[in-house]
Amino acid sequence: MQAYVLRRLGVLVVTLLLISIIIFLVMRVIPGDPAQIILGTEANPEILAQVREKLGLDRPLLVQYLDWLRGIFTGDLGWSFHYDLPVASLIASRLKVTGPLAALALFFTIIIAIPLGIYAATHHNRLGDYGIMIFSQLGISIPEFWLGILLILLLAVYAHWFPAGGFTDWGEGPLLALRSLLLPALALGVVRAAVITRMTRSSLLEVLGEEYVRTARGKGLAERVVIYKHALRNSLISVVTVLALQLGGLLAGTIIIESVFYLPGMGRLVILAISQRDLPVVQGIVLFIAAVIILINFLVDLLYGLLDPRIRYD
């Protein structure tokens, strides 16, 4: 186990380094001159030279990369041109919206998907099962931002139950803040729930066909005990893994949904940064999200082994 963890840790470090190289190269090499991108094509050559010097673009590429990398390790992700603030503190301030949004969406995913998946599996080939599978197929195909727009239309514009957008700060009351996150989280959660419902159903169906389940039934155990005590626990191992992997996708999903609901989170910050040509912010946020996704994948790998004692690490 220890050797496996160390080996995976090694791969994790290499992958993170490669990600940092990809981001660095895309931002510095492909188009030519970031200073030109920031100032536009009509910029004065003298000012261009000043900005290049300020950004350290006049130094060799390797030196620039190593300098950037050193900064990352010390928590310095660069400086925002537009906000005149450190990128790391900008990200931290926006995480108070994006973090709870992703967590709430995950909560919705679980409370929708697990019961539906269990119901579908235990009512296999019946009307309820078909209905849930149609929901799942539609959920996989629906764009989450369109679902968000439909929720705004129905529950905010027509019913006036929720705000159509914007965010009430946590300082003004946690319930008000939560209320402004409810619809976007629901839009994100429902789409992911569609995937997890399918997964729960197929995983539980597979386990229900195992011999130990037949034995449990043969012993005369109540069907409820067979399903919830014997089958469900084993079937949830793969579901938990996929659920954890969805976390990464959720972070990426927040980018669009925050724009739909005008939430001042990390996703909206990065979209605004693109239009403001604030490259250090774009670079910092993309690196942050990619690193979180890679880290989650690594933890899921380890979690899988902890959840399922049958898995051996060689």
């Binding site: 992958t15 188009p31 991108i37 599978m133 727009i149 990619a290």
Partner: protein
């Protein structure tokens, strides 16, 4: 069959829009703006009085083009790297696969943000971004298949009669990986339509005045309290296209890959 029907409907709509649309999709007519569905305008009109049905038809062309080219880029590059990795193995395999792992860390939207922030928004750059984000998936898939197929009798026989490595890979092994690539390509196509719609919604994909389903939804959101229809039909079109190609992928999997067993309902 449902997948074929829905996918075919979208394809047909896109094909017809190349020759005919009920109205010019970009023609503004302020006097008839934000109208509901009716005989004159089946899906109603948007805030500039443009016919939504014509724009949805034309938007299908952009969505399908992005899907096709993005999957083409992802599959072409992925298969090339996967075969190279599987054939040569050793350090090259390790290097390519680690690089693929790194790209795998970027969801399509994130990679698109990175690329469009530098190259600028537009349909071409979104195709590149979505295509690149698919590369690791196709690389892993073709590498795995290649590794198992290269030890099979037909590949060993070709080697024994003196065929070159490239000839064995190209003429004997690659055709055997086609079924799985076609299945993944179809599903990838559906996801690319979804990703393009998302990017266009964010203003990073297709640029105005060209109609795009995602951008139409973005524009409709502002006028939603006056007329909900511009926010309904483009979304429905995205859902039908994605659903159609998803189901088509499932159907193709059933037909082309009998090794994969499903828990059928």
């Amino acid at each position: 069959m449902i997948g074929l029907g829905l996918g075919g409907l979208v394809l047909l709509m896109a094909a017809i829009s190349l020759f005919y649309t009920p109205y010019d999709p970009n023609k503004m007519e302020i006097s008839s703006r934000l109208q509901g569905p009716g005989p004159a305008h089946w899906f109603g009109t948007d805030q500039y009085g443009r016919d939504i049905f014509s724009r949805v038809m034309k938007g299908a062309v952009n969505s399908l083009a992005v899907g096709l080219i993005a999957v083409g880029i992802g599959m072409g590059l992925g298969v090339f790297l996967g075969v190279l990795s599987g054939w040569y193995g050793a350090w090259l395999d390790e290097m390519i696969m680690r690089f693929m792992d790194a790209i795998y860390g970027f969801p399509a939207v994130l990679l698109a943000i990175l690329i469009t922030s530098v190259l600028g928004p537009g349909i071409k750059n979104s195709m590149i971004a979505i295509g690149l984000s698919y590369t690791p998936l196709f690389a892993r898939l073709s590498r795995g298949n290649f590794l198992s197929l290269k030890e099979r009798e037909f590949a060993l026989a070709a080697k024994a009669v003196g065929r070159s490595g490239l000839a064995i890979a190209w003429r004997h092994i690659l055709p055997n990986t086609f079924p799985i690539l076609i299945i993944q390509g179809t599903v990838g196509f559906a996801l690319a339509i979804l990703a393009e719609a998302g990017l266009s919604y964010l203003g990073l994909g297709t640029q105005p005045p060209d109609p795009s389903w995602g951008r139409m939804l973005k524009e409709a959101q502002t006028f939603m309290n006056l007329s909900p229809w511009p926010a309904v039909f483009p979304g429905l079109a995205i859902m039908i296209a994605v659903l159609g190609f998803n189901l088509l992928g499932d159907g193709l999997r059933d037909i082309l890959d009998p090794r994969i067993k499903f828990i059928k309902s």
